[in-house]
Symmetry: C2
Subunit: 212 residues, 2 copies
Amino acid sequence: MRIGELSERSGTPVPTIKYYLREGLLPRGERTGPNQASYGEGHLHRLRLVRALTDVGGLPIATTREILARVDSPDPPITHELLGHAMHVLPPATKGVATAEEEDHGRVRALFERRGWHVHPQSRAAADLAEVVATYRRAGRPLDDEALDGYAATMEQAARVDLDVIGRVTGTDEILESAVVYSVLGDTLMAVLRRLAQADESARRAGVVPGD
Amino acid sequence: MRIGELSERSGTPVPTIKYYLREGLLPRGERTGPNQASYGEGHLHRLRLVRALTDVGGLPIATTREILARVDSPDPPITHELLGHAMHVLPPATKGVATAEEEDHGRVRALFERRGWHVHPQSRAAADLAEVVATYRRAGRPLDDEALDGYAATMEQAARVDLDVIGRVTGTDEILESAVVYSVLGDTLMAVLRRLAQADESARRAGVVPGD
DNA sequence: CCGTAATGGATAGTGGAAGTATCCAAAAAG
DNA sequence: CTTTTTGGATACTTCCACTATCCATTACGG
């Protein structure tokens, strides 16, 4: 197909597709003449993936390009760590603006200890967590250990659902892509479901009989 | 205090504080002369709140202003629905770019039914959820009912932790602000904890003995 | 007391991100 | 055989979140 059909079928304007081609988010089509190229179903799939990650996942274009490059790279992730590897592909959850104090890092290490989490305390994710903990504190709403444990336990459950869902995907080369999709869109999904669950729980506690 | 100290104590550059004053995110200080004004601890608190919501919560300036305006407004939220009300103050979780089909809305209604959620299917949050469900589908990774239920159950648990934490806050006028902080920063916290829990769960399933 | 620095407030400018618009000669379509 | 579309390059636009500059005052340090 040519770019017009790609645009039609994906709902993306032609100039935007050209922009993604320039930026390397979408591979060029196969050249068939001086001003002709042909795109396949793979291009359409990739384009839909880009829109999902950027529009709903909220990823910047530059981050999306890096993630896709790693998803495409044929270097062999050891099967045994394929899923753990997929996590490395993911974008950082924070912008790294606030800086955490030793106090916050200590609380993060203690949390890992309590939950038996197998995570290197120097990892990027651990630093992100300390940053978020520090932000709660500075905003005047510190998180106590009970709350932190409660949220951690909740996310353990979410992670089990994630891995179950990803585990259902067959095809080694599809696993990495699906891990990215489920993880990135998962953040947005969690946020939306959490708002709904909050509203419901709030009504429930206010004494509104469910199903009323 | 004057603007220099406010800047010092909050870690925010003076020009940025002036920008927030212009944009109405921070109330003006009390005028004490033609070019002098004095700020109090309340201003410092508000400034830290703004930085928490924008830097770590990722909210745009305009959204932050609207939220703060509602937090400030003294119109009486009925105690019985104060927490549910707080949810209305919150920003939408999606940008409303993708459009869901009837199929997606149907799945959302069915989910509400299965979980006994007390939510109006025409609400903004329900539309957001349908949009996210549609995005998974278009990205070629549809969510089945089992996964959706699993995530919903997880977020019910998160919401219970949220309401427990918010419930510990005393002082009626503080509750709305804390509900906003916990909800907004909670999204980021969930995302970070989920990455960590995913990595741990992934290692666990790969046969790495925990605590090894 | 006096020179330097900081202040409140207004107005203008910057830099990055994500597209849009325009142009072109060469196909393609009706 | 005229009109539209195409691939590709280059230039332009819009929005956002700040920064910089300016100015007539205070405030501060020696």
